[in-house]
């Protein structure tokens, strides 16, 4: 069989052992697939969404309830976005716990970190675009965090919000960032990240003489596995979209009092929980940024994974990085669960 365009996107063969699901967790591939779903559903949503405070909520309600299959499109966009964050984190963990960021892959590791940050920012801006009572608290708190930054906080806030408080300028800015700025940046980074995977020699494996298993699979088999993952992921997305619709609340009105049961979106619950400790700049800005910086520095400041140990889980050579990543993840999960507990 002559390779098709899609086959040509893949290397002719890759090592069989590292192509298994139990090694990759299919996380990187699923992230690309989810981004494609997000792109297509996002474009469809743009035909109906009106980015003004007065119309945003109503236009989403129109799309959700009155446009045939509009609700499905919105739910698919929502669930793909949630899963994108999850699979991105799984992908990051897989890379750390297999030591796959070893040279020469440090740059690509940073590109991946950039993509994770973009996924989170895209998720947050998309969440704000609902412009309903459900997002009000997070919008006000999130933007106020920017203000808490010394020296440049107020200027940054004005740039971000476009005034002294969230309003029409904020919505159009978040919309612009969401559909254009961040999406463009994410597109470029995805292309670059994928290019670097190929340029850095494909999936991380030990040098050929040190490999226990020399078997390889072809690009035909690889594509077949990718299709399998996409079919299963599509089914999961569809079923979730049908039975667990994306949240939606009443549009923000000036008169309505802010909800008492205010919660950040799930991926920022850990930050919300830390904010209860006091100092918003420290807990809301410094600590999350420190976590990000720490993760980004993993390929540079900790003992590097050694080549013979590549291509398998939990190599001994980078145990410190593994322990650190798991510790931080565990802390974030604990904080998230604490935030979900009902206030006593």
């Amino acid at each position: 069989m002559r390779p098709s365009f899609f086959h040509h996107l893949h290397p002719p063969t890759i090592p069989a052992k590292q192509a298994r699901f139990r090694y990759t967790l299919a996380a990187g591939g699923l992230a690309v697939f989810l981004m494609l779903v997000l792109l297509v559903t996002g474009i469809l949503e743009m035909f109906y969404y009106i980015p003004t405070p007065a119309e945003a909520g109503n236009s989403i309600q129109t799309l959700t309830f009155l446009v045939p299959y509009g609700g499905l499109v919105r739910n698919l966009h929502y669930w793909s976005a949630q899963f994108l964050i999850i699979v991105s984190i799984v992908h990051l963990l897989r890379v750390i716990l297999t030591g796959a960021y070893a040279p020469p892959r440090q740059l690509n590791y940073l590109l991946g970190m950039g993509l994770l940050v973009l996924a989170i920012l895209l998720d947050f801006t998309g969440y704000v675009l609902r412009w309903d009572e459900g997002i009000r608290w997070a919008l006000v708190t999130g933007t106020n965090l920017v203000k808490s930054i010394p020296l440049i906080g107020n200027a940054l806030y004005t740039m971000l919000v476009g005034g002294t408080q969230p309003g029409p300028a904020t919505l159009i800015r978040f919309y612009g960032w969401h559909i254009f700025g961040m999406t463009l940046a994410a597109g470029i980074l995805v292309a670059w990240h994928s290019f670097r995977v190929r340029r850095d020699g494909g999936i991380a494996v030990p040098p050929p003489p040190l490999r226990e298993d020399q078997t390889r699979i072809t690009r035909f088999e690889l594509l077949r596995r990718e299709i399998l993952a996409m079919l299963l992921a599509s089914t999961a997305l569809l079923l979730l979209s049908v039975f667990a619709p994306a949240p939606l609340a009443a549009p923000i009105t000036a008169s309505a009092p802010a909800s008492e049961m205010a919660r950040a979106p799930w991926f920022f619950l850990w930050v919300q929980q830390m904010l209860k400790l006091g100092n918003p700049f420290l807990w809301g800005v410094v600590v999350p940024l420190a976590v990000l910086v720490l993760f980004s520095l993993i390929p540079y400041i900790f003992p590097k994974p050694v080549k013979p140990e590549l291509g398998r889980w939990f190599p001994k050579s980078n145990r410190i990085a593994q322990a650190l990543a798991l510790l931080i993840l565990l802390s974030i999960i604990t904080l998230t669960l604490l935030a979900l507990l009902p206030a006593s």
Partner: protein, 418 residues
């Protein structure tokens, strides 16, 4: 084996698509309505198409649902659609009534005081309960006289001509006298903002709907409908049973400072009703309360009062006159006369220009009572439309003392045997 995986996954996706299509087909077909007053399309009728029109004055094609009830006009998800409704099922609750029923084209803020129903009713003693509160506080020595100073809610009416221009909110927990506290906790179940007592005979809404939404029927048989608490109707044809959700439902026990509800459910109006009064005339049990008592009496005149007597002014002579004078009348010459507006809301009588109506001492039209050519009067029941004919006192052998018009005096001769 792997081909088999792919096949299973393909089938699972196909199944997912079929489920998606099936779910989509189960969604109700949206029913759009663009009310002429708002011009904004709303989809409430998708689920509520079977709801009866609330009144002839509020046709759904003109008002829609959202103008009065609030809510999300585009949402087809019940939770979201109902999340912003005003006052839950009852937008006429006083906490939200201005937003729901108010406005210069509606029931507040007009130059014409008689149409400012919301302002008037919130000053009425049925809303403030100021008289009962003042009475109890005076009785237990908390205040020096019977003049109302506290109401169910704080209200200021600088233009009030009654001598009371403001009431502070009555807060039982701030009272020092235990009896007044107990009164506050146990007895405030009947003002217009209070939730009713439990029991089908008490079922009513709050706010305007306490009176204008008929939750009680005279035969007391429609209990299922009552208990479902979903009566979508506004009316000025208020049956006496609606008044009975508060009035005539029991007594205050001043010793224990509790409200003791009647244990019986009155069915026979002649023999069961009107406690604790022992005597009454036939019009007191045959007519509905609203046939005599005017809207000013029930809903206030915009002034704050201390006791019912200050606002309830109708007497026997209002309709029957005295030995020397006939009751006051007005011949309808103005097509904009208030009487025509009121009869439009409840057309039990066919009023025409040139008809002569009885009016009250305060010039309120008794629009359901017309003077007949032979000098008698015809009254049409506002709730049941029934016609009654009655005579004036003048020219009769009545022993009436014009200055003694309390019901006790008239009951001496005109009470009905029970």
């Amino acid at each position: 084996m792997r081909r088999y995986f792919l096949l299973v996954a393909s089938f699972s996706l196909l199944l997912g698509l079929l489920i998606t299509a099936w779910q989509e087909s189960r969604h109700p077909k949206p029913i759009a309505l663009t009310p002429t007053l708002t011009g904004q399309v709303e989809y409430c009728l998708t689920c509520h198409a079977d709801l009866a029109e609330i009144s002839s004055s509020h046709p759904v094609n003109t008002f829609g649902c959202v103008l009065c009830h609030g809510g999300e006009l585009l949402a087809l998800d019940a939770n979201l659609a109902h999340s912003t409704m005003r006052g839950g099922k009852n937008p006429s609750d006083f906490s939200v009534v201005l937003a729901s029923c108010g406005g210069t084209n509606c029931h507040s803020g007009t130059a014409e005081n008689s149409r400012n129903h919301i302002q008037r009713v919130t000053t009425s003693i049925q809303a403030t309960y100021a008289g009962a509160i003042a009475n109890i506080r005076y009785t237990f020595g908390v205040q020096p006289d019977l003049k109302a100073v506290l109401g169910e809610f704080a209200i200021r009416v600088p233009e009030s001509t009654s001598g009371i221009t403001e009431l502070a909110a009555f807060n039982p927990t701030q009272e020092t006298n235990p009896f007044v506290q107990a009164f506050g906790h146990n007895c405030l179940t009947c003002h217009l903002s209070a939730l009713p007592l439990t029991g089908s005979e008490y079922i009513r809404y709050t706010g305007c709907s306490a009176c204008h939404t008929p939750t009680q029927s005279p035969d007391r048989t429609d209990t299922e409908k009552l208990q479902s608490n979903q009566i979508h109707k506004l009316t000025t044809a208020i049956i006496y049973t609606q008044c009975d959700t508060c009035h005539n439902r029991g007594n205050y026990n001043l010793r224990t400072m509790t409200f003791e509800p009647r244990q019986d459910l009155p069915i026979d109006r002649l023999h069961d009703y009107y406690q604790p009064i022992a005597q009454f005339t036939s019009c007191e049990w045959m007519l509905d309360c609203v046939d005599c008592h005017t809207r000013t009496e029930a809903m206030g005149d915009g002034n704050l009062y201390s006791v019912k007597k200050d606002i309830q002014y109708l007497q026997c002579k209002t309709c029957h006159g005295t030995l020397t004078d006939l009751p006051q009348t007005r011949t309808l010459t103005d097509p904009n006369d208030l009487a025509f507006r009121l009869v439009l809301l409840n057309p039990v009588i066919d009023l025409n220009l040139g008809d002569t109506l009885l009016i009250t001492e305060k010039d309120e039209p008794l629009w359901n009572i017309r003077v007949l050519p032979d000098g008698t009067y015809e009254l049409f029941g506002k709730a049941d439309g029934q016609r009654y004919v009655f005579r004036p006192v003048k020219g009769s052998a009545c022993l009436q003392d014009p200055d003694r018009q309390d019901s006790g005096s008239c009951h001496e001769c005109h009470s009905v045997e029970r």
